[in-house]
């Protein structure tokens, strides 16, 4: 079988059946299990905590007063209840956009500077989101849908999940709306099925071995949107936040175990 030279994906190496009695997905589950002890995300968490507590920026302030929805400085359990509506910005925000609000308002860092290179391995946002998300481990997902803007974003997020466009007619639903589906050997969560949605949303953000970095949910979604051959939505844009309101709603009640380990 010829080895394709495609940068991010090459041909899977043709090989005999993986152990007659075991399927490829069982073998992959065992592989992931072997990695659970010693998840490099713990290193990003350490750095995120340092970024949270260290005074920085023109105002030489830390993020200790940042309100992630449960009150200024409250981090424990906050991630599991995002996205949500924030009165001070009059917007529904997710972890990434809310942290950027705090960096710009509390620390005085200009918006574009705070967001620059956010998608690169080792970015401040990667570390901060990893730290914040780790403090929701063991908490059930409960993104509120009580404020009118939250419920509007739930309906909009659902519409966006099914919104097909582009040369390949792709939408999220193209791959994520049926049970037990796979692209190649890549198992796909089905977000129409709450149980499947929970297995997915409770492990993100996750350390991706193929990237040697933790990917936040926005990084994950924006790369998927790229692979659908759509343009990239803006970091923290309403489309990305509304989509997460829908995904979190589908996964509500799932107990956070992240950051996880992914391909």
């Amino acid at each position: 079988m010829r080895r394709a030279a495609a940068a991010c994906f090459g041909l899977a190496i043709a090989f005999g059946a993986v152990g007659e009695e075991r399927s490829a997905s069982e073998a992959i589950a065992e592989y992931r299990q072997m990695l659970e002890d010693g998840n490099p995300a713990e290193l990003m968490e350490l750095r995120g905590e340092e970024l949270w507590t260290t005074p920085r920026g023109p105002k030489n302030a830390s993020l200790a007063q940042c309100d992630l929805g449960l009150g200024p400085g409250v981090v424990e359990g906050a991630y599991a209840q995002l996205p949500r509506y924030f009165a001070d910005t009059d917007r529904v925000q997710d972890a990434e956009s809310r942290l950027l609000t705090c960096v710009t308002t509390l620390q005085g860092v200009p918006g574009d500077e705070a967001a620059r290179g956010w998608y690169r391995a080792g970015s401040d946002l990667e570390a901060l989101v990893t730290y914040v998300a780790t403090q929701s481990r063991g908490k059930p997902i409960a993104a509120p849908v009580t404020h009118p803007k939250e419920s509007a974003f739930l309906a909009i997020g659902a519409d966006l999940f099914y919104r097909r466009s582009g040369p390949l007619d792709f939408a999220c639903a193209t791959c994520h709306a049926q049970d037990d589906r796979r692209i190649r050997l890549q198992e796909l969560p089905n977000f129409e099925n709450p149980e499947s949605a929970r297995t997915s949303m409770t492990v993100w953000p996750a350390y991706r071995v193929s990237q040697s970095a933790v990917w936040t949910m926005e990084r994950r979604l924006i790369d998927c949107i790229r692979q659908m051959r759509h343009p990239e939505p803006e970091l923290g844009s309403d489309a990305i936040v509304a989509l997460q309101v829908y995904l979190q709603h589908q996964a509500q009640g799932g107990v956070m175990t992240g950051p996880g380990i992914k391909r």
Partner: protein, 103 residues
């Protein structure tokens, strides 16, 4: 590298298990960035682990060790509260040491 290692040491039944997570890109020198420029080799070459000053493991690594390396091994002895120290040094001479108390 600024980020500290995560060193965990636990003793049980006269044996101490050491687990270490190191923050390091482990670049092979073969990868290209999105502008097509080759990313220079940058990888940990020497690792030394000592317990109360005595070397319990030394290792030499090549660039094939995964990024953000994870290492675990066991040594006989070691009691609660004693020190385990991990030091790495990479091909540019950068080095880092971190310690942990045995739990």
């Amino acid at each position: 590298m600024a980020t500290p290692m995560k060193v965990r040491a636990r003793s049980e039944g006269g044996v101490t298990e050491v687990k270490v997570l190191m923050s390091h890109p482990m670049e092979t020198g073969r990868r290209k960035n999105e502008k097509g420029e080759t990313i220079p080799a940058l990888f940990i070459q020497n690792v030394t682990v000592s317990h109360q000053g005595r070397t319990v493991l030394s290792a030499q690594w090549g660039p094939a060790i995964s990024a953000n390396p994870f290492l675990s091994f066991k040594f006989q002895g070691g009691a609660k509260g004693e020190t385990v120290k991990v030091t790495w040094q990479d091909n540019t001479g950068d080095t880092r040491s971190d310690e942990a108390l045995i739990a």
